[in-house]
């Protein structure tokens, strides 16, 4: 056995890999291929399906018919990714650098809500954001919002739901990346006069905040100049007060792998998500996941559903491929978590 292993060095990794990889090949790669075939079917469940290459029209028709939902999915997932970043980065930074002895407790608090089911959390948001719910009720009682204002069944509700549900996917990779930053580097930078970054921080913060809030305003159909102004003010203040040169030049660049991994881990499931749009949205906020789910399970329209799925998958793979070019495949499968 020992000599055999020594002579055929490739046997050991192969034996380790074989069972899992085989499982993935049979139950991931093969179904994906099957689905690719199915996207060239015509017919229905009752009459049976026939395969023909000329059915590539499935793709053109599907994309043509549902381009609105594709676009919406990209916008919602993108917005949610930016929001998770804005919430997760300061959170992860505080836990990593200021957590002290509460570090583990804070990490637990971040992860704990996600031990409960995805569905339950989303339904809970439905209660919170509901027309008679605690959130709207409070603001209506205070007279800040008009009586007939709604949150549920709006893009805001759907995007907030996605943001909430994928928050740990951003927080944890960013935290791990920040945790790895050698504090001595930061101290060295401070010793070399990389102190507060007053004018620069304020200007960059105001610009970034303004642009981000303006885009958010457009997505949420709020007044975007107002949003941009508010964002610029907030960003400027934060940049002026909190951002130091050592952060900009040392800490932030070192945490970028975590940010990349987190964005990917948030954006990908978010773009195919249908649960949030189902519970928190309305027909006007349907995402591509809802269309696929409906086509597959309710209408039994397998060809169109397959074509839609495959287009979505291909799109995501392009994004991943671009990421892989930048980061390398190693970084991908470790998710920046090593």
């Amino acid at each position: 056995m020992g000599t055999l292993l020594k002579r055929h060095r490739w046997i050991a990794p192969l034996a380790l890999l074989a069972p899992g990889i085989l499982w993935l090949l049979v139950f991931y790669v093969w179904p994906a291929f099957q689905m690719f075939i199915a996207s060239f079917w015509s017919g229905s469940l009752e009459t049976g399906f026939t395969f023909s290459l000329s059915n590539y029209t499935n793709y053109t028709e599907a994309i043509d018919q549902f381009s609105e939902q594709y676009l919406r999915s990209i916008v919602y997932a993108g917005t949610a990714t930016v929001l998770t970043f804005l919430i997760a980065y300061p959170l992860a930074y505080t836990i990593a650098f200021k957590g002290g002895r509460y570090k583990n407790l804070l990490l637990f608090l971040v992860v704990a809500p996600f031990f409960t089911s995805f569905l339950l959390r989303t339904i809970s948001w439905k209660i919170i954001l509901g027309d008679g719910g605690p959130f709207l009720g409070l603001f209506k009682d205070l007279g800040v919002l008009p009586e007939d204002s709604r949150l549920l069944a709006t893009p805001i509700a759907v995007i907030s739901g996605i943001t909430y549900n994928f928050l740990p996917f951003m927080t944890l990779p960013v935290y791990v990346a920040l945790e790895k930053v050698d504090i001595r580097l930061v101290e060295a930078a401070r010793d070399l006069y990389a102190g507060p970054w007053r004018p620069g921080g304020a200007i960059v913060g105001a610009l970034l905040g303004g642009v981000l809030a303006g885009v958010l305003g457009v997505v949420f159909a709020w007044s975007w100049p107002l949003m941009a102004a508010a964002g610029a003010l907030a960003g400027g203040l934060i940049g002026w007060l909190l951002v130091s040169e050592s952060f900009v030049r040392v800490t932030f660049p070192l945490s970028l792998p975590g940010v990349f991994a987190g964005s990917l881990l948030t954006f990908i499931p978010a773009i195919g998500d249908y649960v949030n749009a189902e519970f928190l949205g309305n027909p006007e906020t349907r995402m591509i996941g809802n269309v696929i789910q409906n086509k597959f399970l309710t209408q039994n329209d397998y060809p169109t559903a397959s074509a839609l799925s495959f287009t979505l998958m291909a799109g995501i793979l392009v994004v991943v491929a671009i990421y892989a070019r930048i980061l390398g495949t190693e970084e991908l499968s470790t998710g920046g978590r090593v």
């Binding site: 490739w10 050991a12 990794p13 380790l16 890999l17 069972p19 899992g20 990889i21 993935l24 090949l25 139950f27 991931y28 790669v29 179904p31 099957q34 689905m35 199915a38 919430i87 300061p90 959170l91 505080t94 200021k98 804070l106 608090l109 971040v110 704990a112 809500p113 959390r121 809970s124 439905k126 209660i127 919170i128 509901g130 008679g132 719910g133 605690p134 909430y164 928050l167 006069y193 102190g195 007060l241 909190l242 881990l265 195919g272 996941g289 789910q293 597959f296 397998y302 397959s306 799925s309 979505l312 995501i316 793979l317 991943v320 495949t329 190693e330 991908l332 499968s333 470790t334 978590r337």
Partner: protein, 176 residues
């Protein structure tokens, strides 16, 4: 840290009021933000627990009506609930067992050995995570339907288990 030390460290002097604002912000702003974020994270769970004591007038449980313990008196008396919980537990146990075993083996191979198909393997591990769940489930469904025979069709416990294991392997590899 005193104001003098700060100004020494940054190498420039500044009016003391700005320094005070900055120190306050530095000390508390992030902590306050973190506190708010944690509240945001825990809110849905708290609401869920709170509303389990709600006494709704009709069927929907979306508006607070009054306090009751009645839903906690016989938590397993809901039709089909004990079976469903049992099935979930068995499914979770089996898929964790299988996915952990398969995933750990792959992770071992990836860490311990250099081999030719390494980067291809890495990509294959990442792909299921990069595929939306709806697409994963749908493609498995297409395959099961087109095989159209036991043990894959009609769908049963085993097919759910297969899907769960497939979905979880990558997460095990990444974490281990």
């Amino acid at each position: 840290m005193t104001a003098r030390a700060t100004s020494l460290e940054t190498g420039r002097s500044r009016p003391p009021r700005t320094a005070r604002v900055q120190r306050l912000a530095d000390r508390y702003l992030l902590l306050v933000y973190t506190g708010l974020a944690v509240i945001y994270l825990l809110l849905p769970v708290a609401i869920m627990i709170l509303f389990s004591f709600n006494d709704p007038a009709g069927k929907s449980n979306f508006v607070w009506q009054g306090f009751t313990l009645k839903y906690w008196l016989h938590p397993l008396a809901v039709n089909g609930l004990p079976e469903a919980v049992g099935l979930s537990l068995i499914l979770a146990f089996l898929s964790t067992l299988a996915a952990t075993a398969l995933g750990t083996l792959i992770a071992l191979a990836l860490v311990r050995y250099e081999f030719r198909w390494r980067s291809a393997t890495n990509s294959l591990i990442f792909l299921p995570m990069a595929t939306p769940e709806i697409v994963l489930g749908a493609s498995l469904l297409t395959m099961f339907v087109s095989i159209g025979a036991a043990p894959f069709f009609p769908l049963w416990f085993g097919t759910i288990l297969i899907a769960h294991i497939m979905f979880n392997i990558s997460f095990v590899v990444v974490t281990v």
